[in-house]
């Protein structure tokens, strides 16, 4: 079997920066990503189909992304794109599918940088074609230059919603309106974190700039509490606080949460419920070490910190990998990592402010008829009924309902199911055991399995 010193999953800022740092320490690096090029979510298609005009929203970040991608291309790491990882074995062998064939390699150190996914915002009718994530629409913008057409509504909360809206306007696109679902009192809640946030004012200033751009363009911003999507074969209307409006596209957003699909499936890799982010995250030390020897996690997959913090934690984890592989002594690692740890702390300073401003929307308010598990079409009401019958948590729920057992394995619904069950039982979500995932974490074909033998 193929052996590789450092195997990195994910070509977002965390994985790319880790690869560059590891190569600088002389490590052999193999990097896998199921995307078809480097950049991850934030820097997707930068330099290709995504090249924002100077000064337009997201342009600074795209420039940073381009620099990172160029440095990565020059660093001598082996990159495999279109490579989707679906198993990590006891001896740190990983298995991935690539062009219809499964491949395997054993990693001396495995560094997982799987990034974040959009936190689902379950509302009645959100499974209709025409309803998708704000981040999903942004992905269409970056990877194919698509702009919303017809009556496009944005709903929810969080920085990405405002950034996307500003990006659409800057390219001549139109938005029918923004439904702000953020819980009232955000600025009051967040005020005590403001001094810390102002130590890195760039974040706040950029956000205020996007909002100002929308105001200038006259996009209606409407505060709403309840929202539903309606339609037969596709979305035709949205209903909010008793008002009904025609809609061709509804984009939902409630922040992003760590993508723990791979880490949760690894035996003995401990996770905790993160209250501020309403999701599970792996238990890590400052180097990114999990509870499994030789397996590290960096970037938003470890907890949401944004692109710059992700790149720094990638470098920090790479230095620790170099120590574990004997390329650095502990003293050398510490000397190199010191400034990076300080910079990461500075980048993370605004996070408590953002978390307080946009706390994830409460699961208790999701109406009974709303589908929670999109794959198996299980409603919040049925999850609540099963909880009343004695299902203790998401794993026990599987004995009652198929929630979390479809092809996405609870990737999308897991945190929502956990929060709904906890609210029904009157306990904090962290008191329930999070949904376990299993390898293969994606459907694998017989042909792919056969190619492994």
């Amino acid at each position: 079997m193929r052996e590789v010193a450092l195997l990195i999953l994910g070509a977002g800022p965390a994985g790319l920066a880790a690869a560059i740092e590891a190569r600088a320490r002389g490590l052999e690096v193999l990097l896998l990503d199921e995307n078809h090029g480097p950049g991850g979510q934030v820097h997707r298609a930068v330099g290709g189909s995504y090249t924002p005009a100077r000064g337009s929203p997201g342009a600074d970040q795209a420039r940073e992304g381009l620099r990172l991608i160029e440095a990565f291309r020059a660093c001598g790491a082996e990159a495999r794109f279109g490579a989707s990882l679906w198993a990590v074995e006891e001896d740190r062998s990983v298995i991935w599918s690539e062009g219809g064939v499964a491949r395997r390699a054993r990693a001396g150190v495995l560094l997982l940088c799987p990034g974040a996914i959009e936190r689902p915002l379950p509302i009645p009718g959100w499974t209709l074609p025409g309803v998708m994530g704000v981040g999903a629409a942004q992905t269409l913008l970056k990877s194919a230059g698509l702009l919303p057409e017809g009556r496009a509504w944005l709903a929810g909360q969080g920085p990405l919603l405002w950034l996307y809206a500003a990006q659409v306007l800057a390219r001549g696109g139109r938005i029918a309106g923004i439904l702000d679902l953020s819980p009232p009192g955000g600025w009051r809640r967040a005020a005590r974190h403001l001094p810390a946030a102002l130590t890195a004012p760039g974040y706040l200033l950029r956000g205020l700039g996007w909002m100002a751009r929308l105001r200038r363009a006259g996009v209606p911003v409407i505060r709403a509490r309840a929202l539903a999507a309606e339609g037969g074969e596709r979305l035709t209307h949205i209903v909010f606080d008793g008002r009904r409006e025609a809609a061709d596209l509804l984009l939902l957003h409630d922040g992003v949460a760590p993508n723990t699909q791979i880490t949760r499936a690894i035996q003995g890799c401990a996770h905790v419920w993160d209250e501020a982010q309403a999701s599970l995250r792996p238990v890590l030390d400052p180097w990114g070490r999990t509870s499994r020897p030789g397996i590290l996690v960096a970037g938003d997959g470890a907890g949401i910190g944004g692109a710059r913090a992700a790149a720094l934690s990638g470098r920090i984890a790479a230095l620790e990998a170099a120590r574990q592989l004997g390329a650095l002594t502990e003293e050398q690692r510490d000397a190199l990592a010191g400034p990076l740890l300080l910079r990461r702390a500075a980048e993370l300073a605004p996070r408590p402010f953002l978390d307080a401003l946009f706390p994830p929307l409460p699961a208790a308010r999701i109406p009974d008829g709303t589908i929670l598990c999109r794959c198996e079409e299980v409603t919040a009401g049925r999850v609540r009924a099963a909880t009343a019958l004695g299902a203790q948590g998401p794993n026990q729920l599987k004995a009652y309902l198929r929630a979390g057992m479809g092809p996405c394995q609870g990737r999308v619904c897991g945190p929502a199911v956990q929060a709904v069950m906890a609210a029904a039982r009157g306990v904090p979500p962290g008191a329930l055991e999070g949904l376990r995932t299993r390898f293969p974490t994606r459907p694998v074909t017989v042909g792919e399995l056969a190619s492994l033998a």
Binding site: Q41, M132, L140, A144, V412, P443
Partner: protein, 94 residues
């Protein structure tokens, strides 16, 4: 739902119908830009579904590509002449 802000450079075949596309873009983007909103029917209730996450997480964009079922249209890059069609009914390992 969506319109293009840039040019196309090839065509793909969706259920035998030629649609404009750009090589390398996600198949899901090409379909959405051409006005295709429902990519599949759910095996549970037969309800129409279209892409939701565009990043490989939700599996709502499953289609058949060149006769192979269960392909995530958001992760498949367009190649000129690519043939695809909706996914109906059962999914999982073929």
């Amino acid at each position: 739902m969506f319109r293009r802000s840039g040019p196309t450079d090839c065509t793909i075949l969706w259920e035998g119908r030629a649609l404009p596309a750009r090589a390398g873009e996600p198949l899901a983007a090409a379909l959405l830009a051409a006005g295709v909103v429902a990519f599949r029917e759910t095996p549970v209730s037969g309800a129409p579904r279209g892409p939701f996450c565009l990043m490989g997480a939700c599996f709502d964009c499953l289609v058949e590509v060149e006769g192979v079922p269960n392909r995530q249209a958001c992760l498949v890059p367009v190649t000129p002449g690519m043939r695809a069609g909706p996914q109906r009914g059962a999914r999982g390992a073929p």
